[in-house]
């Protein structure tokens, strides 16, 4: 059993699909955990924290500050403070690479872009507030329509020439995909077109805020190689993806917690 020496803080990010938790000890990542949020954000927060502590072998009382974030941030009743996921993703990106000046966070329910100053502080941001297009959910719906496994979906897109998908509404885009299937378009081309459609929504939002390099992509969708490539093509810059991309919000929350202690 770890005795929990040093300054230990935790960040808990309750997203629409997954709950993430990160432990920081003396400025270093001491553990991460991801699980499904389910319908009860409050329980998800407790469960992901307990699991993380167990895996890291750290006792709860040794964690000095807990910061919650994500859409369910207010439901984490044991957190010392709730901070929005936009601020946390900025901090998390800065932790991974202090040179980063722009973050694209694509989660399950929404996508966000933010420009950072040299301290990782958000100076401008935008959030998609129209529909599911350009979110993880859009890709999930499309993967289902294409009978593709979500993990292979992005890779599949890399081998195709993007088919044209003009609808910006997820439901209409799905029916467009079905029409493309009926018309005999290849699976790879359709999947590639789906990624391009989602990327063009996100890049338009990024350009409104003003892209500054280097750019980091975070959030669960950063695991999708096809989205990274499609976004790089749209923006004309390469994207940094850290191995902690999915837990980046929780990481930022843990970092901000360490500054509070």
């Amino acid at each position: 059993m770890d005795t929990g020496t040093g300054n230990i803080t935790a960040g808990i990010d309750i997203g629409s699909i997954t709950a993430k938790a990160v432990l920081l000890r003396n400025g270093e990542i001491a553990g991460t955990c991801v699980r499904f949020t389910g319908y009860n954000a409050k329980n998800a927060g407790r469960a992901v924290f307990d699991e993380l502590l167990k895996e890291a072998g750290i006792a709860k009382e040794h964690v000095s500050v807990v910061v919650s974030t994500g859409y369910g941030r207010k439901a984490v009743d044991f957190a010392d403070k709730a901070i929005t996921e936009i601020t946390c993703h900025g901090a998390g990106a800065w932790f991974m690479d202090p040179e980063v000046r722009f973050v694209i966070d694509v989660g399950g329910q929404d996508s966000k872009v933010m420009r950072l100053d040299e301290n990782g502080k958000v100076v401008d941001f935008a959030m998609n507030d129209k529909c599911a297009a350009g979110t993880g959910r859009f890709l999930e719906v499309m993967a289902r329509a294409m009978e593709a496994d979500l993990d292979d979906f992005g890779v599949l897109s890399l081998s195709g020439e993007p088919a044209r998908i003009s609808s910006i509404c997820t439901v209409f885009a799905e029916s467009e995909v079905i029409s493309l299937i009926a018309a005999g378009a290849s699976r790879e081309n359709i999947v590639s077109g789906i990624h391009e459609a989602a990327a063009s929504r996100i890049s338009a939002m990024a350009k409104r805020v003003g892209v500054a390099v280097p750019v980091m992509m975070t959030g669960g969708v950063a695991k999708n190689r096809g989205m990274i490539v499609a976004l790089e093509n749209k923006l004309g810059v390469s994207l940094i993806v850290s191995s902690y991309a999915q837990v980046n919000g929780a990481l930022g929350a843990a970092l901000l917690a360490s500054r509070m202690g």
Binding site: Y71, K121, F125, D129
Partner: protein, 378 residues
Amino acid sequence: MMNQYLETLDIFRGISENPYEYGKSIKEVAGKPVIGYFCTYAPEELIHAAGALPFRILGTTGAIERAESHLQSYCCALVRGGLEDALTGRLGFLDGAVFPHTCDSIQRLSDIWRLNAGFGIHIDAVLPVKLNAPSAHKYMADVLHKAVRDLEHALGKTITEEAIAASVSVYNRMRRSLLSLYSMIDRNPGVMAPDAMYHILRAVMVMEREDAASRLEALVRVLEENAAPAEKSDRKRILLAGGICSHPDICRILHESGADVVSDDLCTGLRYADGLIDETERPVEALAKRNLGRMVCPAKHLSVTARGENLFAEVTRKRVDGVIFLQLKFCDPHAFDYPYLKDRLHRENVASMLLEIDQQPPPEGQLRTRFETFVEML
């Protein structure tokens, strides 16, 4: 004190939340003609002088169905919603409407309204667009004189200069009190409930103006006599800029996110209150002068930089930490001004965020995230 404040606020809030009930009661109980209008450049002092109630239309709270067959979906919710309520009879208590020449959509709405809404009274007030032209004052005064004649003809009565002067005086009383309330929220943003100011403004735009003026004066008095001094706080000070604040609840959510609205550049805000009318001049000429000198809206031209300079001056004057642009979806004049205004603020290191609003308020969860992020950013 609290009781009098709360009672007065309840009256304003009740009318703001249910303006049509109020309009109907004025028509039925007071037997007064009710004339609708869509923007603050409408000559409402003249409507008032004609013995009618000027009634601001702010879109609909219901679903938009019938208006869709007359207007493109890329017209703003204010225009589509107003037409919807006219076509469905929700605005049946109106005797007619006055359409000032402002944005393209309002002008086209005037034609569609005249042909389809079936009200007896329909007046266009074709105001000058360039307010800095040498002929602008004469032009504006001529248009207002014509509006007097049009109203006289439509309502079958004479509007005397004395009646206009009396209306001017009522409007000045009302605007003076509104400006006092703005000074108070500047000094102490917590002096009233967070959503109070915009409920008050929405209410006074439809209320019997003498009643509105008296109630505002009473409210100012009560607050001045009893308001506790502002507590020191690290809460952020926000200015709202844009067209209409159709959802005063936004201010409550912003308040809960750690910031307070201390000023605005809104049509249902300071642009309505700004600019007292000179009571020593002949009233129509004085009204024309106010229209040229008040805070300008993007559908009018005062100078290339007037709106940006005015916005930045207000930001400085009120020690504003950040500006939130409340943009009604599909409102061209505001959308065209936005990039320049944002740049103007950016040059002075004033942070801003854009919030697009529609007929329905944005989902509260997302709104909170954006407001909280903005407050964290400041």
